[in-house]
């Protein structure tokens, strides 16, 4: 097999890609071609839940790139996820057209309700799918770049930087809650009908969205894995472990940080954009500071600085959340906190670390 060295030596990554390939083929078969009364049949609901997990996993990978490799504990990455989601949500809103409750051919329902007579300027262009997809990358990327440029240049780091990232996502949440912002206020964007003409309710559409999520996760993983295998990856480690050493070797630490932070935010944006059509809604709650913290916990649980660990953590913790919020909803936050403490104290290298230790012992 002609695999590049950086991938060939990444055993855990190859396993991950194989699992994604199996899911990408198997899940559509089990949903579309297995009869609903068959025990192996997967409902559209299950397909969507799995797709959601994959989106979370991509968000976790993007966080691991900046936290695990570059040492920046970002507690605001859900903001980039939500912004990507809003960009796609705006496209989906425009797709509704005259089928809304008020039947306005151009204005989304919430704007009619607010007695707005025309579309705000920043909603223009979002009726084009290509433009919306571009914005999914540009908007989170631009915000991350501007934020990173100023924060890193003024050498804010450590816990102060983490607090600023929390403030960023909190400020965005408050802004998006306001009706005057033009993003649907606290209801957000919802009642989507179709994407590129395909009904979001159709099983086929859901399966395609699931496959796209698997592809995006695989692509995001490969991009990050490749990046950390280059000399750039070693520079990131140098910045994480000794920023001054990197600087006195001639590296422009601020620029490297801003660049990688931007890339990471774009990946988070893509994850958000794939998430929204699957769950059918995006609202300011996605900017909640707790969301970003939860995402960091996924990475810690799986094992930071490994990329694969981020995927494992995101899927397992969210599986536990789905199960627990169904069975004992009030317990979830305590369970999450307990999990974080346990992992920090007992498993500093996360589940991946545990697996590696078992392997070495065997």
């Amino acid at each position: 097999m002609l695999l590049p060295h950086w991938l060939f030596s990444d055993r855990a990554g190859l396993v991950l890609l194989a699992v994604l390939a199996v899911l990408g083929v198997g899940v559509p078969i089990l949903n579309l071609w297995v009869p609903p009364d068959h025990p192996l049949y997967l409902s559209a609901y299950t397909v969507t839940v799995l797709g959601k997990y994959l989106c979370y996993a991509l968000l976790a990978v993007s966080i691991d790139l900046v936290w695990g490799y570059m040492g920046i504990l970002t507690l605001g990455h859900a903001a980039f996820f939500a912004l990507g989601g809003y960009c796609l949500g705006m496209y989906l809103m425009r797709q509704i057209g005259a089928r809304g409750v008020y039947g306005d051919p151009v204005l989304p329902d919430f704007m009619v309700f607010l007695n707005w007579s025309e579309l705000p300027w920043y909603w223009h262009g979002f009726d084009h799918f290509g433009f919306a997809m571009l914005m999914v990358l540009v908007i989170p990327g631009l915000l991350a770049f501007v934020f990173g440029w100023f924060a890193f240049r003024s050498r804010v780091s450590g816990v102060y930087l983490s607090i600023i990232t929390q403030a960023l996502t909190y400020a965005l949440m408050l802004a998006f809650f306001r009706n005057e912002m033009g993003f649907g206020g606290n209801n957000g964007l919802t009642d989507f009908k179709d994407l590129l003409g395909f009904s979001l309710q159709a099983d086929g559409t859901r399966v395609v969205l699931f496959i796209l999520s698997a592809l995006a996760l695989a692509g995001g993983y490969l991009l990050c894995r490749w990046l950390v295998s280059t000399r750039m990856g070693r520079v990131l480690v140098a910045i994480r472990d000794s920023e001054d050493r990197a600087r006195f070797l001639g590296y422009r630490v601020e620029r490297v940080k801003a660049l990688v932070f931007t890339l990471s935010a774009m990946l988070a944006g893509v994850a958000g954009a794939l998430y929204v059509p699957q769950v059918g809604i995006i609202n300011p709650g996605e900017f909640a500071p707790l969301n970003s913290i939860e995402a960091v916990i996924w990475v810690a649980v799986g094992g930071r600085g490994t990329l694969v660990g981020a995927v494992i953590g995101a899927v397992l913790v969210n599986y536990a959340k789905t199960w627990l919020t169904g069975a004992l909803p009030e317990v979830w936050l305590f369970a999450l906190g307990g999990l974080f403490v346990t992992v920090t104290v007992l498993l500093p290298y996360g589940l991946i670390g545990l697996l590696q230790r078992r392997e070495k012992a065997a």
Partner: protein, 273 residues
Amino acid sequence: MSELVSELDAAGLHTPIEPVDATHGILLYLEEVTVSFDGFKAIDNLSLYIGDGELRCIIGPNGAGKTTMMDIITGKTKPDTGRVFFGQTIDLLKLDEPSIARIGIGRKFQRPTVIEPLTVLENLELAMSGAQRLDRLITARLTGEERDQIHAVLDQIGLTEHGGRLAGILAHGQKQWLEIGMLLMQKPRLLLVDEPVAGMTPAEMERTAELLRSLAGSHSVVVVEHDMGFVRSIADQVTVLHQGRVLAEGRLEDLQVDPMVIEVYLGAGDAYH
């Protein structure tokens, strides 16, 4: 294309690297430099000249301002007043840390600082001059010449057998050598070496002295050190720093009988004898 690359030169710096002009025999000029932290003068009207190819030792009690002086030369701390020039023409106060590193000033920290999760070879490669450009960050192919440079340095610092080992598992002394090796990869003209033998065994100290002596001549080397035996073994020109100024300058033998110097060191206890 190359223009685009330098435009995108994220990690690096676009400014052309000016050759150092040390025609007057002086490589580094510090003139009337003062730095205060909250009113406390860590460096007080300090003037110091380092000759081209010279090996200079700087001694002085704790808090004398030795590390702060290196911070100023390398751009980490900007002085309140004074001039700092590299050769006749390069004003170091106008440059930031990465630029200063790139024009040929390498610095070893007081606490050995190598990148522990990387191998010895990777550490050296990271420090290689020219490795900092964006296009070189993602296409990390080494030229034959660069490979040779890495192996020459590896040999020079005596770690030939350890190239593939992780820097984190090296002995303390080996880490110090690796860090000096990283400076050499930068192809510097001036090396600033802060306390290289702290915590070393006598044998390691001897090898370090040999290494630093071998670098003088082709490089200017400034060594800050507390260990008098070590200072005696490497330098004949010694500067004594005290309360942010030069207290005395000269040969170590003469300084050791200088009453002013004795007074400062007696005040600081026995550690310096």
